[in-house]
């Protein structure tokens, strides 16, 4: 059993911020909350997935909605505790441990706040392996688990319990509720037993994010190339480097989220080539020339070339110099069942999944 102290939370937040370069928001504010929680309540105990007792009751915690809203209407601290107490009451059973729903952006760090405040152990793992825009897009859902009963609590103290027929319905209802709650709310969902969890959770993903954050901190302290440090720590494949020359966003009937296209003009070894990044809340497709080089569910992380600051899609503007990395997704996402939940077609793109681990490239017929 390991413990998360101040320094590890700082590394975790930086790692989650880097992974947030693919979506999921900047964890700056939630790190402040996590550090404060650890300062007042002590370090957080971490359980490895295999250490979780079979009869443990585990739930995933995090926030849902706009990260811009989170940064404006800051949380009250109470909602993070209430999601758990309300779910415990509904289930009539104490919750034993917490897990992150997605190990990227703000939701990589929020479970630390909950675990510290409630003195519950946190599991070294998560249910997505990256950021996804829907609460139904989890490895737990893929394994047939229901997301509900789910509790949603907002900053004003309203709370809603959802108990739904299927996970997509949970996402649709929860999204509507969160919009009406002011666009951001805390949740607890996917209650599961320890013996289920060990087959579901992506084991060790929190340690990996801490490792990424620490590698970058060390590179910064030693004035080493931060991009190289990130690439080594993530085992990511460099997809492209260049300058953003155009960003377009368009609204499409039948889709909740705005569709974005960014054109990137190559530099260095990519001179003379152009990459198009297709994005919504996350970067979803990378097309170099006419070839699709990577697609969701593999993770596309975009960093500013000079500073290695992650650039989530909402901040992407023309004139920015970037490096795009492809990171492999959890192997379970690559199955037909996985792709039916998080493949390119579920995001409205009529292309087949393109893994970064396959070297042969597929020609795009525009």
């Amino acid at each position: 059993m390991i413990e998360l102290d101040k320094r590890q939370v700082h590394d975790l937040a930086l790692g989650a911020k880097i992974m947030g370069g693919g979506g999921g928001g900047d964890p700056y504010l939630v790190e402040l909350m996590a550090q404060e929680a650890i300062r007042t309540s002590g370090p957080v105990h971490v359980w490895a997935v295999e250490e979780v007792p079979d009869d443990a009751l585990v739930v995933a915690v995090g926030m849902m909605g706009g990260t811009t809203v989170l940064a404006e209407r800051l949380p009250s601290n109470r909602e993070i505790v209430r999601v758990i107490s309300t779910l415990e009451r509904y289930l009539d059973h104490p919750i034993t441990a917490l897990i992150s729903i997605e190990m990227a952006g703000v939701n990589g760090v929020i479970p630390v706040i909950s675990a510290a405040r409630l003195a519950l152990p946190l599991i070294d793992g998560d249910l997505m392996g990256r950021a996804f825009p829907g609460i139904h897009m989890t490895l737990a859902a893929l394994a047939g688990l229901r997301a509900t009963p789910m509790v949603i609590v907002d900053a004003r103290g309203s709370q809603v319990i959802l108990d739904t027929a299927d996970n997509l319905t949970t996402e649709i209802l929860a999204r509507s509720i969160v919009m009406d709650m002011g666009g951001a709310a805390q949740f607890a969902l996917y209650p599961m037993q320890g013996k289920q969890l060990c087959h579901i959770a992506l084991s060790g993903s929190m340690s990996q994010i801490i490792h990424i954050g620490r590698s970058l901190h060390e590179a910064q302290d030693n004035s080493q190339d931060p991009i190289l440090a990130i690439q080594r720590a993530t085992q990511g494949r460099e997809l492209f480097r260049g300058k953003v020359t155009d960003v377009q966003r368009h609204w499409q009937i039948g889709h909740d989220y705005v569709f974005g296209d960014a054109s990137v003009e190559g530099e260095g070894v990519y001179m003379g080539q152009e990459m198009t990044l297709k994005f919504q809340n996350e970067y979803l497709l990378a097309v170099v020339g006419r070839h699709l080089v990577t697609s969701v569910p593999d993770n596309i992380v975009v960093l500013e070339a000079r500073t290695a600051n992650p650039i989530p899609p909402e901040f992407l503007i023309s004139g920015v110099d970037l490096v795009a990395f492809g990171l492999p997704c959890a192997p379970r996402w690559r199955t037909p069942e996985g792709l039916s939940i998080v493949g390119p077609r579920t995001f409205g793109y009529d292309v087949d999944y393109r893994s970064i681990t396959v070297s042969r490239e597929i020609r795009m017929d525009s």
Binding site: L32, A71, R73, P75, G182, G319
Partner: protein, 514 residues
């Protein structure tokens, strides 16, 4: 005719311009008394040119004085912060993540009250006037006169910030109140931080600006005074008194705008080399490229509109050791003319190397004649390498590009750089910052959030444009000349795509024209 002055940390520069012609320029060492230095520069220009002060149509001043006051923690007034947002926002109270010394100096207490809005304009809770009144009483009892007010989503609706300000102003008539929606962008903590910093500088700003206006009047200049903003545009003196935080990045922006004007380049890397440090930034369409990330000022995270600048430690006063070779990061700064060898001092500085290498002539060349030519050459190559490395870091792609060298420190290097298509060191390079101040137009910016369930996209954009133009007018632009120069419309992430963030910049001519 306009007089443009830039009072930086080390040097004060001034120019007199008529249309696009530079009639006179002046360079002085920045004085501890900021007004003295500026007034001296203006009077030298008047004497040099024998211009009738009545012919001056505007005096434009850029200064790092206020940001330096924050960096050096001096002349700051305690600030009471009132945040409207309960029951939300308690997890991260005001002054969270501030450097302890700065917080101790200006924390005049933080109050959290009910109020604030949701993104769609609904109230989180209603503003409670008795609660605000009680807070006002306590602020008054503590004798605090600088107040910063922040409200959740005040960029959706500023009414509650305004109403709270009204109640506090009634209770404390002499209070100087900064409202977060007037200066910052989306992100409550960072916008509130910017409002606090602004509030703690208001008293200083009022003193400096009013003393300066009086000093100009004593020189029989009755033309309006403008100050340079973070993006290189201008604001009228009475506006600047209320928003001193908007001057923080004017040094690098004025240098870039001046470099664009002097060189004619609209897409370039600009290196502004001073006495202690050099700044490097990019010009896009003739404007300083903006940073997309939050910035830290004096150790505090703020979300003001700031140029994307990279600073490295090389300037005329950088201390040099030849064996082993080391340049900077320490600098003799303002004492260059006392401490460097060529001015009779005993410290070897970067300017001594440049004189010894024969690329510039200044002071007593004989004082550096004894230096080993081989070692001088190595030091020269090192300075050249420092600049080339910075250019490499800043460039947006690997294509060769135009580099514009400005600032008095740009005499340190030869105008040939690896990887640059062309290196321009334009005439008047040393006073580029003052030129940037002199040629400025008046700017305004707005950052709003609209929920399209309540307003049409076109109406929302129109309202945001009007707000940006109204800000430029309030900052002193001639309303009939104001134009929108930049529009960014982005959806808020993870919300169904009908919530828009709209950022608009506008620019207009000075009320009097040139």
């Amino acid at each position: 005719m306009r007089i443009g002055i830039h009072a930086g940390d080390t040097n004060t520069h001034g120019v007199l311009m008529k249309g696009t012609a530079i009639l006179a320029d002046v360079q002085l060492t920045t004085t501890t008394d900021i007004v003295d230095g500026i007034t001296k520069a203006v009077s030298i220009i008047l004497i040099k040119t024998n211009v009738d002060p009545a012919e001056i149509s505007a005096v434009t001043v850029g200064t790092s004085y206020f940001s330096k006051a924050i960096e050096e923690r001096r002349n700051l007034t305690p600030v009471a912060v009132v945040r409207l947002g309960l029951p939300a926002t308690q997890a991260i109270p005001p002054f969270t993540d501030w450097p302890a010394d700065l917080q101790e100096m200006i924390n005049g207490h933080a109050y959290m009250a009910h109020g604030g809005y949701e993104f769609d304009g609904r109230a989180i809770s209603q503003l409670q006037p008795p609660e605000i009144q009680e807070i006002a009483n306590r602020i008054r009892d503590r004798g605090i006169q600088a107040v910063a007010i922040s409200s959740v989503f005040s960029l959706v609706n500023p009414s509650m910030e305004e109403e709270a300000a009204h109640i506090i102003q009634e209770s404390i008539p002499e209070a100087v109140i900064t409202l977060s929606h007037e200066i910052g962008r989306m992100g409550l903590l960072e916008r509130e931080n910017a409002a606090i910093m602004n509030a703690c500088l208001c008293e200083l700003a009022k003193n400096v600006i009013q003393t300066l206006q009086q000093a100009l009047a004593n020189l029989r200049i009755h033309a309006p005074l403008y100050l340079s903003q973070n993006d290189g545009t201008l604001m009228a003196a009475n506006y600047a008194e209320r928003y001193p935080v908007l001057t923080f990045a004017s040094t690098s922006s004025n240098a870039k705008c001046g470099a664009a004007f002097l060189s004619g380049a609209r897409e370039a890397v600009v290196i502004d080399m001073g006495g202690k440090t050099s700044n490097i930034g990019v010009l896009v369409s003739g404007f300083p490229h903006e940073s997309i990330f939050a910035v830290y000022l004096g150790g505090v995270r703020v979300n003001l509109r700031m140029p994307d600048v990279f600073t490295f430690n090389l300037g005329t006063g950088s201390l040099v050791s030849l064996d082993p070779l080391r340049i900077g990061p320490e600098s003799v700064g303002q004492e260059l003319t006392k401490r460097s060898l060529i001015f009779g001092g005993s410290d070897l500085t970067a300017i001594d190397i440049a004189v010894a290498a024969g690329i510039t002539d200044m002071g007593q060349r004989s004082a550096v004649a004894g230096l080993s030519p081989r070692k001088v050459d190595r030091a020269m190559r090192e300075m050249q390498r420092m600049v080339e490395q910075a250019v490499n870091q800043m460039k947006v792609n690997s294509a060769p590009l135009v580099v514009v060298l400005v600032g008095s420190g740009s005499i340190l290097i030869r105008p040939r750089l690896a990887g640059a298509l062309d290196v321009i060191r334009p005439d008047y390079f040393a006073v580029a910052r003052a030129v940037g101040a002199a040629i400025g137009r008046v700017g305004g910016e707005t950052d709003r959030v609209y929920s399209l369930s309540r307003i049409s996209r076109e109406t929302a954009l129109q309202e945001a444009r009007e707000s940006a133009c109204a800000k430029a007018a309030a900052a002193g632009a001639n309303p009939s000349t104001i134009q929108v120069v930049d529009e960014q419309v982005t959806p808020l992430n993870y919300l169904r795509g009908n919530v828009l963030r709209v950022r608009i910049r506008s620019i207009g001519d000075l009320e009097q024209g040139i």
